[in-house]
Symmetry: C2
Subunit: 334 residues, 2 copies
């Protein structure tokens, strides 16, 4: 590989080859990095490489990749974790969300590699400090958390633990930007960070509304995909509010300030749902997306996401760039 790798080509190890790990491998490689993919299960690596092979065609079709071969050349399975991390500048951890497993993996990665290498965790809820405390190299460990699937969606939240060193945060920010993704910078840890807190605020209130019989599960999904979600595909929630009043955000929030406060205080994201409610929502979902077809529906979701993002990027109807999406080119594939 040496002859195709420039001095400034990032080298990244993806540890964990499940849904998120394999998708990260594509994201890094499509962004120009050399990637080594490892999993304790060799079969998982093999399955991930098959997925990557199958997915590359969709990425090329959507204009996100110049060539399938280039991507496949850049991603190699590794037989041992030591082989995976040898010579890399960043390790992207995407193993089980079980904190005990994460702690064991971080301890191993920390022992194996020089402390100049950053180790980013894909943990979605648990603070990274919970499984890096006390490690000799804890200063280079931090959160680097994507939205599923990271080979398509561009948001990545980056968050230091209390002992993460500043250089490590900056190195990860630069790496994420260099592969064409959008860093969401958090200043300090909080359970669920920003992305999952925003998502779970909505999911929790949705469970409240259905659990207390205000509406059916399908009504929640329809309210988002035929309503709120279409604006949020290209405007953030603050931007959306800003355009809901002729004078902008302050007018939107303060014209009926008491009403806004009352409504926010009344939200019950922490509603205590039971397993029967989860089963009921599951039963509704499998009417259109059967459990045995999930993989096929994930593939459909991914193709629709690629098409949607391609559309938004090409759409010049807005004239002025609302949000910088238009200004960005597709991911930099050399």
């Amino acid at each position: 590989m040496a002859e195709t790798t420039g001095l400034d080509t990032p080298r990244v190890a993806c540890v964990g080859a499940g849904n998120i790990g394999r998708s990260w491998a594509i994201a890094y490689a499509a962004g120009g990095a050399e990637v080594r993919l490892f999993d304790v299960s060799a079969a998982a690596v093999a399955r991930a490489l098959e997925f990557i092979d199958a997915t590359a065609d969709d990425l090329v079709a959507a204009g996100r990749l110049r060539s399938k071969e280039l991507l496949l050349e850049r991603i190699r399975g590794a037989g041992t974790v030591a082989a995976a991390v040898d010579g890399v500048q960043h390790i992207q951890e995407s193993v089980s969300d079980d904190p005990a497993v994460k702690r064991r993996v971080f301890a191993e990665l920390d022992a194996l590699t020089p402390t100049s290498i950053t180790i980013g965790s894909s943990a979605g809820e648990a603070p990274v400090s919970k499984f890096t405390e006390g490690l000799p190299g804890a200063g280079r460990c931090l959160l680097v958390h994507p939205v599923n699937p990271p080979h398509i969606l561009r948001a990545v939240e980056i968050c230091p633990t209390p002992w993460t060193e500043r250089w490590a945060v900056l190195a990860c920010k630069q790496l994420v930007e260099s592969i064409g993704m959008v860093p969401i910078m958090l200043t300090r840890e909080i359970s669920g960070y920003a992305i999952n807190r925003l998502q779970y605020a909505l999911l929790g209130e949705a469970l409240h509304l259905v659990g207390e019989g205000y509406c059916e599960p399908k009504d929640i999904d329809a309210a988002i995909k035929h309503g709120l979600g279409l604006r949020w595909a290209f405007l953030g929630p603050f931007e959306t509010s800003h355009l809901n009043a002729t004078q902008g955000y302050q007018e939107y929030m303060l014209t009926d300030e008491a009403g806004a406060r009352r409504l926010m205080a009344d939200v019950r994201a922490g509603y205590q749902w039971d397993h029967a409610l989860i089963a009921r929502i599951h039963d509704y979902l499998i009417q259109t997306m059967k459990s045995e077809d999930i993989v096929q529906h994930q593939q459909q979701r991914d193709r629709r996401l690629l098409g949607l993002m391609q559309h938004l990027q090409a759409d010049t109807s807005a004239g002025v760039a609302l949000d910088g999406q238009e200004a960005k080119s597709t991911r930099g594939v050399p």
Copy 2:
């Protein structure tokens, strides 16, 4: 107009010609209804008719309308509220959110019209029962609440008060479906209903994250428009969760049930924000969308929404219809 109006052509009065009222007028007319538009301010009606004229071209370009002329023929300004409501089957109220104003308007509409006419309120937060209690015709009053802008987005929540009669709910559901929109059916009132509860759950947690210094306003917007919002443009939140696990929703919710519960309980949508925080977010927003350009940015938003929905409807990459969006034709314009 009689010669162009079939026996089953719905006739609707839109009372209030602000942002929502004018947009409702387009939604009803584009869906095939004859519309009378009234506002206590004649100037507001004139401005609304100008907006409708200007907007019709975008709708035709997006394939949502067969002809501009047909739309303009179907919407007439009315000089008095009595003229507006004469002969209609449904009144869509979109006046100020001030409950005292709504109460006065409902009392007037109730006194003016036979009780066989439904009166739907566009109220977003206050329960409709607050301003219809005790009216002789309270049984035909209910919530018919859209997402802004209703001439583009299809979700409409419908909710009875404790005294709304069942026929009125069914009539509004049928009317909303007949104009190609998607009814979100609520069984009973709750502050903010479904759509704004879901939105404000997210907005409240966003204020918490920024207010407590976890991240900057731009990070919230980026987390949605480069992450969560793109999935929500064609998948509801339950559907999104279903595809985040190989076995579906139950696996997604129960694999780390404790983590999910902890995160939902930790959401702070009721965070007590102050005016300085609102001003700070406003200052961030006007860097890219100045107050004096809001109208232009709203127009850009609307064009992007039209293009986005046109793209999603035409997109056959998913093969199987995920959510029924593909199965629906554009709004039925005869």
